[in-house]
Amino acid sequence: MIILPRQARDKHRENTQKRVAFSYSFKLSDVPGLHSTGGCTAYSVWEGKSLGQVTADDGFAAKAVGSRDSVFLTLSGCQ
């Protein structure tokens, strides 16, 4: 069982608040030159697999990005 001491919890809270200060997500309209209203198909370069459809409304949001890591996508079939 993991017990988080108060100091660790404070640090945890601080880091958690930091994490929400920026994002690893985007709307298709954020990407210059990508004039898509109907969505695109996303492919993860590092994972070598399709991530499915990215809609213009929802955009893309990374589930997790490791420290000093990246999410690398190519977009195709943009409409």
Binding site: K18, A21, F26, L34, K63, G66, D69, T74, L75
Partner: protein
């Protein structure tokens, strides 16, 4: 990168030989790409060049784009790179759930409290939030 350092080379081989990444690098559709988002929070890299006295400050989060010609198998027309230059793993689900877990000490308590999100909470404790923040 020192290519004679075989141990280091082995660690990065999968990345530097990734054919899709090379394809993005080699493709050109009139513009070589640029950054479209950066966080105001920065991370200091030291050293960041061959000269030990140099150091660099970069945004923790950077998003880049590069138009592609559509010549690859998937006919891709855009590449997007979301970079985490920070020292912590980014876990958006944890940022939401763990924010409410300040007084919950254990993964078991957290899972009970957030039964519908049990998988996410367990993932946060095991893979990210706890280990990253307790360093």
């Amino acid at each position: 990168m020192n290519f004679s350092d075989t141990q280091n080379l082995k660690k990065h081989w999968e990345t530097i030989t990734n054919l899709d990444a090379i394809e993005v690098n080699q493709d050109y559709a009139g513009f070589s790409g640029s950054m479209f988002y950066n966080s105001t929070e920065t991370e200091q890299f030291k050293p960041c060049s061959w000269w030990a006295r140099d150091d660099c400050k970069f945004p923790v989060a950077m998003s880049w784009y590069k138009p592609l010609s559509g010549r690859d198998a998937r006919k891709s027309t855009m590449a997007v790179l979301l970079m985490n230059n920070g020292m912590s793993m980014y876990l958006p689900y944890c940022a939401v759930s763990v924010h409410h877990l300040n007084d919950i000490a254990t993964p078991r308590d957290a899972a009970r409290e957030f039964q519908p999100f049990q998988e996410v909470v367990r993932f946060c404790f095991v893979a990210g939030a706890a280990s990253a923040d307790l360093r």
